[in-house]
Symmetry: C2
Subunit: 506 residues, 2 copies
C-alpha cells in the first residue's frame, strides 16, 4: 500500500489544504510528484497543509473557508480537527437571493422506466400494500396481522411485492395542538399517499387516540379504516385486517408496469456516514446524476438542514426566485431556533465517524454535502414532511439524521432514494428502493454485498465524476423498473419509520 | 339495559357529582333509589350533578375540585366536558412536603414466585436473549439476524423464551451533548440491564455513530460488541451476530427458576385509554395491590407526569422526606418547562377517548390516575429512565404516553407491569409481562382475549376493591413465575421501544 503513488485531492484552485487518497494513509517523509513532503503521518481522507499557515490564517477547501488555523501549521503537516476553529455560520439576513440563478440545463429526452402509473398521475417503482396506523398502540396487532398476510395472502397475489406496516411512535401522548405537531402529522398523512402504495393504503386505528384515524384517510373513505376498539376481541380485529387486506391485494395485483418518462421519477438524495471523500467522489457524481434527472424533467430533492446551513450562502443565489429564497431562509432560521431551544447548535453534527473520516467540522461536511444538489436552479423548498408538487430540484428541509431524513423524504413523495456513504451504513427503506453509493473503493470492496455503486474510482482517477454520474442515472432507471434489485432490498434490510416530532410528548 | 337498576358512583362524601355506571348510559327521567332524577340522557361514565350548581361553583369529585361550573347546572343534569372549567395546577412552591407521611404498612410475609435469580441480585420473570443497539442504522441487519436466530438457534435452547432486538430511533443525528440527551442515553443503557436479560445482552453498533456502542456495555466487556463497520460484508456481520448469540443462548439456557420472595418483584404501574371508571375500579384495585406489594417488600413504581401534576398536592405530603419531596417537585417543574418550551401545557392531555369515557379534563384524569399508588409513603423519585435502586413505592417520572412510559419503566428495571385501561388497548412489551386490567365489565366482555383481569365488577358491586386487588397481586405472582401467560404474550402483541428524547435531532 505504501508503495502506491502518493495521491491527494485538491478540489479548488484557492484551496490551501488537500485530502490524502491512499488507503491506510501516508507516512512521514512521503514526497508527492509536486514536491510536497509530509512532515508526519496523515490518515486517509485527512487534510494536508499545502503551504505554511500562520495562526488564524483561513483554512480553505472547496474554495471556501472551513475554519481558521488554531495554531501555526507547517506545509506538509496534518491539518487535524483540533487545528481548525469553527467559523460562525452565514448570517441569514445578509444572503443574496436568486442573484445567480443558473440557466435551465439542456433538456435530456428519451429516457424511460417501467413504473406503476397511479390514478393521481404519480408513478410507483414498487407495488406494495401499505397499512398505516394512527397510533403506536396498534403496532403489535398489526405486526401479527402483517405476518399472517404475508404467509397466507401475499402468495396468491404475485404482482404485489410486499406488505408494509407503517408503524411509528406518534399518535397519542403527544401535544397534538402544539405548533410543531403539524410536522409528524403531515408526515404520517403523506407517507400513506406515497406512489408505491398505489392509493390503496389501509388505516388501522385504536379509537381513543389523539391523532384521529380519519385524518389519515386520503379521500375520506372510511371503508379503509379498521378501528380496533370497535371489534369484539383480537380474533375479530385480525379477521378485519385480513379481509380488508385481501381486497386491497386483489386490486393492487391488477397494477402493471408501463413505460413512463424519466420525468415521473421523484428521487431523494441523502448522505450518511460521510467522510472527506463524500464531497469529492460520491456526492459530485450524485450531483451530476441530479442534473441529468432535472434535465430529464424529474423531481429531485436534497435535504439535511444542519448539513446545508453552513454552506447556504452557496445555495441562496441559485434559488429561482426571492420567494423560494425566503422559504429556504425560513427553514434555516426555524432549525437554528429549534436547536437553540434544546441548548444545541449545528456543531452537534458531525459524528465521531465523520471526524475519523477526515471531516474537521460541520462547515467542511456541509460544503461536501451540498454538492449532491448539482448545478441547476433550486425550484422550490419543502418544510419537513411536505409533499412535493413540482418538478426540478427541490430543497426538502429535514434533520440530517439518516433515518429521520429518509422518513421525511418518503412523505415528500420520493419513489427512489440515492444514498452516499463513506464510513458505510446498511440503511434501507421498505417503501422505496435505496441505491447506495460508496465514496471510497475500500468501502466498496469491504461491503461488496451491501453497496450498489462505487464512486471511489473518482479519487483514484479510474473513472470521472461524469462517468459515475451516468452510472447512477442508469441504475436509477433500472431499479425503478424492477429490473435491478438494490442490495438493501435483496436482503430485506429496512430501517424503521422515524418521525421528526419537535413538539412535546405528554 | 335500561331496565337495570340505575347506578351511580359517588367517590367521596364531599362530591357534588357522580358517574353513571350503567352500560349504555341512562335516559332522561331515570330516578335513582335516592330520589335523584335525570333531567337529560347521560352516557356511561359521565357525570351527573347531585345538586344544583351555580355558575363558578366548584365541581367536586374524589373530594377535590376538578373545575368550576362554566354555567348554572341543575341537579340531575349531565356535567358535560364544556361545563367544567380547567383550574390552574397546584403551585409547586406552596406544597407541603412530607407533612403526612403514612406509617409503614404491616409487613406481608410468605409470598413467593419462581424467578430467574441474576448475579447482581435482581430477578428475572422471563429468560430472554436481548440484543441492544447503539443506533437505528443497524436495525435492518439485526432484524434479519434475529429472525434467523429464532429459526435456527432458539429451538436448541428450550429454556430461553425469546430473542428481543432492542432497536430504537436514537444513536445518531442527535444533539448528544445537549443537556436532555442524558434521558434517551440512560434509557438505552438501563434497558440492557433489565433483569429479564440475565446480564447476557449483546450490543450491535455501526461504528461511526454518535452514541458510542461501548457506552452500552454494562461491564465494559467488548467481547459482547459487534461493530458492523468492522465486518467484511453482510454475511460476515450475520455470522458474527449468530455465533455471539449462540454463546449467550447456551449461557442463558442454564438459568433455572428458583423460589424468590415477592420482595424481588419490581412492578411498574400504568394506565392508558383511561375513562371515568379508571379512578373508581381498576386504579383503586391496582392501588390496593400496590400496597400489598409494598407490604411484601417489593418495589412498585407509578409514573406519568401530566397525570400526576394536577394531583401532586395529594402526593407531596406522602413522601418520606423533604429531600424526596424536592425530587418530586423538580420532576414536575422540569416537565412544566418542557411543555412550555414546546408551546403546550398539561391540558394537551387528556385524549378524545378519555373525554368520551367521561373524563372532563386533566384534573379529573390525574385524580383517578394517582389512585394506582395506593396508600403507602413515597420512598423515592426517579428521573426518566433512571434505574430503581430501592424497595417500596417510587415515583418514576415519565411522559403519560403509554409506550414511552412503558419503555422508561423497562429502563427503571421493572420485571412486571400492570396496566389499567378503560377504552381498551392491546398494549404489550416484549421484555416483561404486562397484565392488563379492565375498568369496565363491558370492555372485559368485548376484549375477552386481550384483557387479563376485570375490575369492572367493582362498579356493579359484584366484587370489592380489596378482592380485585388480591386477584391482581396473585396474578402478578403467577405470571412472574411463568405459570400463567398474559394475553399480550399469548398472542405476542408487543409495542416498539419508544424513547423519550427531549433534546434536539440534528
Amino acid at each position: 500500500m505504501e508503495n502506491e503513488t502518493p495521491l491527494y485531492i485538491k478540489v479548488n484552485e484557492k484551496d490551501n489544504v488537500a485530502i490524502i487518497v491512499n488507503t491506510g494513509g501516508l507516512p512521514k517523509g512521503t514526497v508527492f510528484p509536486c514536491g510536497l513532503e509530509l512532515v508526519e503521518r496523515i490518515p486517509q481522507g485527512h487534510k494536508v497543509a499545502l503551504r505554511d499557515l500562520r495562526q488564524e490564517d483561513p483554512i480553505i477547501r472547496y474554495g471556501e473557508i472551513i475554519g481558521c488555523a488554531a495554531a501555526p501549521i507547517a506545509r506538509g503537516s496534518w491539518v487535524e480537527e483540533s487545528l481548525v476553529t469553527l467559523p460562525t455560520p452565514p448570517r441569514l439576513e445578509e444572503l443574496p437571493l436568486a442573484s445567480a440563478v443558473p440557466k435551465p440545463l439542456p433538456p435530456l429526452e428519451g429516457y424511460t422506466f417501467e413504473g406503476y402509473r397511479n390514478k393521481d398521475g404519480s408513478v410507483g417503482t414498487k407495488n406494495i400494500l401499505g397499512i398505516t396506523t394512527s397510533v403506536q398502540c396498534v403496532a403489535g396487532v398489526l405486526e401479527f396481522a402483517v405476518k399472517q398476510i404475508k404467509e397466507q395472502l401475499l402468495p396468491k397475489y404475485p404482482n404485489v411485492e410486499d406488505v408494509v406496516a407503517l408503524t411509528h411512535n406518534y399518535g397519542c401522548g403527544v401535544a397534538i395542538q402544539a405548533p410543531d405537531a403539524i410536522i409528524p402529522i403531515r408526515t404520517i398523512q403523506n407517507i400513506a399517499v406515497n406512489p408505491n402504495f398505489g392509493g390503496e393504503v389501509l388505516v388501522v386505528g385504536l379509537g381513543c387516540e389523539k391523532l384521529a384515524p380519519e385524518r389519515l384517510l386520503p379521500d375520506g373513505d372510511t371503508g379503509r379504516l379498521i378501528t380496533l376498539q370497535d371489534h369484539h376481541g383480537f380474533r375479530s380485529m385480525l379477521e378485519s385486517v385480513m379481509s380488508q387486506a385481501e381486497e386491497r391485494l386483489a386490486s393492487l395485483n391488477r397494477r402493471q408496469r408501463v413505460t413512463c418518462p424519466a420525468s415521473d421519477l421523484v428521487v431523494g438524495l441523502q448522505c450518511g456516514g460521510s467522510d472527506a471523500f463524500s464531497g469529492v467522489t460520491a456526492n459530485p457524481a450524485v450531483g451530476y446524476a441530479a442534473d441529468l434527472l432535472v434535465r430529464a424533467g424529474a423531481t429531485v430533492m436534497f435535504s439535511e438542514v444542519t448539513e446545508v446551513r453552513d454552506a447556504v450562502h452557496l445555495l441562496t443565489p441559485r434559488v429561482v426566485s426571492e420567494e423560494v429564497g425566503r422559504d429556504l431562509l425560513r427553514e434555516m432560521a426555524w432549525y437554528d431556533n429549534y436547536l437553540q431551544r434544546g441548548q444545541a447548535d449545528r456543531s452537534a453534527n458531525p459524528t465521531p465517524g465523520n471526524k475519523k473520516g477526515g471531516l474537521a467540522n460541520i462547515v467542511e461536511k456541509a460544503l461536501g454535502s451540498i454538492v449532491k444538489s448539482g448545478t441547476s436552479s433550486i425550484a422550490g423548498v419543502l418544510s419537513p414532511g411536505e409533499k412535493a408538487k413540482q418538478k426540478g430540484l427541490l430543497y426538502a428541509a429535514t434533520p440530517a439524521s439518516d433515518f429521520v431524513c429518509g422518513t421525511l423524504q418518503l412523505a415528500s413523495g420520493v419513489n427512489m432514494q440515492v444514498f452516499t456513504t463513506g464510513r458505510g451504513t446498511p440503511y434501507g427503506l421498505a417503501v422505496v428502493p435505496v441505491i447506495k453509493v460508496a465514496t471510497r473503493s475500500a468501502l466498496m470492496e469491504q461491503w461488496h454485498d451491501l453497496i450498489d455503486i462505487n464512486a471511489g474510482t473518482i479519487a483514484t482517477g479510474e473513472e470521472t465524476i461524469e462517468e459515475v454520474g451516468w452510472t447512477i442515472f442508469h441504475t436509477i432507471l433500472e431499479v425503478a423498473s424492477g429490473k435491478k434489485t438494490t442490495w438493501a432490498d435483496r436482503w430485506g434490510l429496512h430501517n424503521d419509520l422515524c418521525l421528526f416530532n419537535p413538539a412535546p410528548v405528554t
